[in-house]
Each structure stands twice: as structure tokens, then as C-alpha cells.
């Protein structure tokens, strides 16, 4: 944009230089207008009217469905908290939540154990394979979960490894599918985290002090990535707890989302209570992410659709 700095009216991009030649043009006037406009913008600290209109519309869109669920969940008379009481007394609810939470935690641990060394190694030793690894971690975005789950069932119900034959095997397949689903954001979270610390210097320092690779990863890299790892972990947890399709296909009907889906077809008020609780859990996970991420640069995590 910067023209040759010959200066004055000769510069092709010197705004005042060009404009001064126009008849009836008053540069001082323009400057005053601009200052006045800027001042008006500063003064408008309470916001433009259109901004309020849009914001209120958006807020209504957010809140009204939540109100809908809430009022539906307390429609039971005379005891308005009956649905909640029934839900908490229902062993299926706690079992579903417990099962999905456990699955989520295991998924997070396995995903971290695979992704952190991989991302670290790619950055440090085999950068030429980086595009390949990135491509693979993005693949779950384009594969419909139902297809992934069915591929797994078909492959592991024949041949040497018959995971689909046993309950434990099906649980292993579920975790495996969830770990794959977590790759896109886990890898990105870890990679961003690695970019923020000086991996090379840290590794050299640890090596010169006599550490081996395992020790470097466990004592140097993992602790330095704590923030990004935790935000990736909570996101994974939130997604696994709400995941429906894969759990359904792998006959994990005790998981939270299949349980809620069934409840939604059979019960009048309890599903509303459970939906609201589930919203609260998502909220909790996101607040934890925001809390952990404060101070660091805001990063958008994009999840696959469900």
C-alpha cells in the first residue's frame, strides 16, 4: 500500500495530496468528520440498536428451548420434581452416565497416549510425514460414524480377532472408535500446544541431562502441554458422553445417549429432566475448557456433527 515516499502531493497514494486538487474539497472538514465519527463510536458504549435487536433474537433462540425443556420437566403435578426424583432413582440413568463417563475417560487416556508421542515425534524427527499424519487425523471428519461402526462389526465378527463376540470385545471396539473420533481435535490441540513451547530446546536440555525418550515425554512434554491437553480432554469427554450412533450400532444400549433416546420414546417427563441434566454437563465441560484456556489464545474447537 505504501507508495514511494517522495512525499507531499507527488506521492500517488498520498490521500491529501490527491484530494486537494479536487474543487470544493476541504481536507480539514474530512478530518473533523472522521474525528467526530470516531468519538461518536466511542460514546456509543451501550451498543447500536441493531446489535441489541440481533443479540436479543439470538438469546431467545438459545434460551427458549431450554425453557421448554425445563417447564416440561416440572409439569408433573402435584410434585413438580417427580421426574428428577424418578431419574435419580432409576439405576439405568446412573448406569448410563457411569458407563459413558468411564468410556470417555478411557478414550481420553488412550487418545493422549497415542497422540502426544505421535505429534511430538512428527514435529521433532519426521516432519516429512506431517501431511500424512494430519490427513489421517482428519479422516474421521469425513467418515459417517455409522459406517465406521459397521465396518468394525463386520471385520471383528469374523477372522482371527472376534471382538464382536464378547461384551468386553464390543467395549474395546467402542473405545477404539471413540479414540479415532477424538483424533481431529486431539491432534490439533496437542500440535498447537507443541507449537507454543520450544520442543527442540526442551528436548535437548533433557537429553543433555541424561533423560531417555520416555522420561522426556512423561516429565517434560506432558506437563508443558497440560492446558491444551486438558481442553482437548474435556471436549472429548463431552462428545463421548453424548455420542449416540456408534454406541447404538455396537449394541452398547446401556450408554447414556441410547438410554436417553429410548427414554424419550417411552416416558413423558423424565426425558426432559435428563436432557436438562445433560445440557448442564456440557455446560460444565465447556466452562472447564474456558477456565483452563484463559490467558492462552482463544482457539475454536470444531467437532464433528452428531
Amino acid at each position: 500500500m505504501s507508495g514511494p515516499s517522495g512525499g507531499g502531493s507527488q506521492a500517488p497514494f498520498g490521500p491529501m495530496g490527491v484530494m486537494e486538487n479536487e474543487p470544493g474539497f476541504n481536507p480539514d472538514r474530512v478530518r473533523v468528520d472522521a474525528v467526530a465519527r470516531a468519538a461518536r463510536r466511542e460514546r456509543r458504549a451501550f451498543g447500536a440498536w441493531w446489535a441489541w435487536l440481533i443479540f436479543i433474537l439470538g438469546a431467545l433462540y438459545f434460551i427458549v428451548p431450554l425453557l421448554g425443556v425445563f417447564f416440561h420437566s416440572i409439569r408433573t403435578r402435584p410434585d413438580i420434581f417427580l421426574a428428577y426424583r424418578q431419574v435419580f432413582a432409576d439405576p439405568a440413568f446412573l448406569r448410563g452416565l457411569g458407563y459413558s463417563f468411564t468410556a470417555g475417560v478411557i478414550t481420553v487416556v488412550v487418545s493422549l497416549l497415542i497422540i502426544v508421542p505421535t505429534a511430538y515425534w512428527v514435529r521433532l524427527r519426521v516432519p516429512r510425514l506431517r501431511p500424512l499424519v494430519e490427513f489421517v487425523t482428519l479422516m474421521p471428519f469425513v467418515i459417517p460414524p455409522v459406517v465406521l461402526a459397521f465396518g468394525l462389526i463386520r471385520i471383528y465378527s469374523q477372522g482371527p480377532v472376534r471382538l464382536a463376540a464378547t461384551d468386553t470385545g464390543l467395549n474395546v471396539m467402542l473405545i477404539g472408535a471413540y479414540v479415532v473420533l477424538s483424533f481431529p481435535y486431539m491432534y490439533r490441540a496437542v500440535d498447537t500446544g507443541l507449537a507454543a513451547i520450544d520442543v527442540r530446546t526442551l528436548t535437548e536440555a533433557a537429553q543433555s541431562l541424561g533423560s531417555g525418550w520416555t522420561r522426556i515425554l512423561a516429565r517434560v512434554i506432558f506437563p508443558n502441554l497440560r492446558t491444551s491437553l486438558l481442553s482437548g480432554a474435556f471436549l472429548t469427554l463431552a462428545i463421548v458422553i453424548g455420542e449416540y450412533t456408534i454406541a447404538q450400532v455396537l449394541a452398547r444400549t446401556m450408554a447414556f445417549a441410547p438410554y436417553l433416546s429410548l427414554l424419550g420414546r417411552n416416558q413423558p417427563y423424565q426425558p426432559a429432566a435428563v436432557s436438562l441434566i445433560s445440557f448442564g454437563l456440557t455446560w460444565l465441560a465447556m466452562i472447564l475448557i474456558a477456565f483452563l484456556g484463559r490467558g492462552s489464545r482463544a482457539r475454536v474447537q470444531v467437532t464433528g456433527a452428531r
Partner: protein, 299 residues
Amino acid sequence: MADAVAVREQGAQLAPPARSRLDWSWLGLVPFFLFCTAFLFLPMAFLVLGSLYDPEGAVTLQNYADLSTGIIPGAFANSIEISVVTAIAGGIFGFLLAASVTVGRLPRVLRTALLTFSGVASNFAGIPLALAFIFTLGTLGFLTTLLQSLGLTGFRGVNLTSKLGVEVVYMYFQFPLMVLIIAPALEGLRREWREAAENMGASAFQYWRYVGLPILTPTILGTMILLFGNAFGAQATAFQLTGGTLPLVTLVISSQIRGDVLHNPDLGYAMAMGMVVIMGISIFLYTLLQRRAERWLRS
């Protein structure tokens, strides 16, 4: 610039703790690729192969030819229509919403509230979301009965098994995603650019028309593509809403493979391949636009 990065990373290769001279460094990626083979590549290979066989086990391209039969074209049309509509509507509304808390100078606390809420809402998809809308806009829903008691006696709620119904529900996770991505981009517009435009006598309209929007266009388009893919791949929400009565690609694939009424897994795999292609194209375009967007923002 990419070359500079590559050079730096080449330089980052360290001497391994005294080992052989051969380059064994790729071994470090073995666990990752083993895991991917077991839980990603094999199922995918199964999908590709399955789409090339008929139920009797003979090699055929018939499954792909069959994509133009029955409800399948309609399912693709429905899915694409819903995805396009919610991507554009969600994109525009999300943009305006993000603009309201940044450019519109609403109090800062509202900005924080909006971003937190968007983070929650963009992840609040699936069964609970569908139920929330059934309890809100269904025949006996909260909003339906509220509007009726306010005198709109003709209002019978929104038919949530229709395309419009699904679109209304999808919007709940679509525009928050737009807000999350576009708000930082709007804040990345430098104050100096606006001041420069004003000093040259530009009106607010001219500033947006010739400076602001052109800079943001790649981000806006890229995010809309992301929203498209987001809606296209959604399954649980639509399933709970419609019970499968509205043919959408994900739902039809599911019923082809799992076989309740429709049952032809191989055709299901071919549909899945079609879906993978569409999703792949959108992710590719997204990455492309993302790169272009980074040229101006956060440099």
C-alpha cells in the same frame, strides 16, 4: 514462507540417543498407524470393498448405479438442501450475532456470555437437542402452548419431522459455530484499517463494502462450508426428531446397513462413499479458504 518452515523443521532433527546409523525414526509412528489400521483403515477398506460387491459376493458397479434409484436421490437432495439452508442462514445470523458484540459495541459482559453459550450450544447436539425442541415447538410444546394462550390459537407448532423442522433444530448448533469462528476474525480487523478508511472519507457502508467484508470473505465462506458438513453429517438429532420418516443420507445409510425395512448393506456402503466424497470436498475447500483467510488476519 512454507519453505522457511520446512527448513527450520528439517534443522530440528536431533541426534537420537546413540543408535544405529540407519534412519529408524519412522518407527516412532508405528503405534499410531497400528491403531489407525485396526480402528480406521480396516473398516474403511471394508466400506470401499463392500461397495464393489453385490449381496451374492460378485464384483459389480451396480451399487453405484443404484444410487440413482428409490429414495436415495431424494435423500441426497434433502440432506444437501437442509445443509445448504442451515449453512447460509446459520452463517448470516451467526455473523450478525458476532458483529453485534464486536462491531456493535454491546457491553463486554454480553460478549463473554455469547461466546461461552456458543461453545456449549455448538456441542449440544444429538438426542437431548432433539428432545428440547420437541418439548418446545411440538404440538404440546412450551412455545406452542404459550403462543396459543397469547391468542395465536391457529398455531399448532412446527412439524419437526419436516425439512423445515429439522432446519429449525439444526440452527441451534449451526449459528453458534459460526459465532465461535467469526468473532475472533471480526476482532482481528485492525482498528487502523477503519481509521485509514475514515480518514480518506469513507462512510461506514463503504468501509464494510470495500475493506471489512472482502477481508472476511474467505473466513465467512470457509465457515459456511464447515457448517454445511456439520449439518450433512448429523444423524442422531435427525433420527430422534423424525424417527427416520424423513429420508436423509445418514438415516438411509443407517437403515440400509442395519436393515429394518430397507436392507442392502452394499448399497449402504456405496451411499457412504458418496457421503465421504461430499464431506471430503467440503473439508478440502474449507482448508483452502482457511489458508487464504490467514493471509490478512492474525499476521
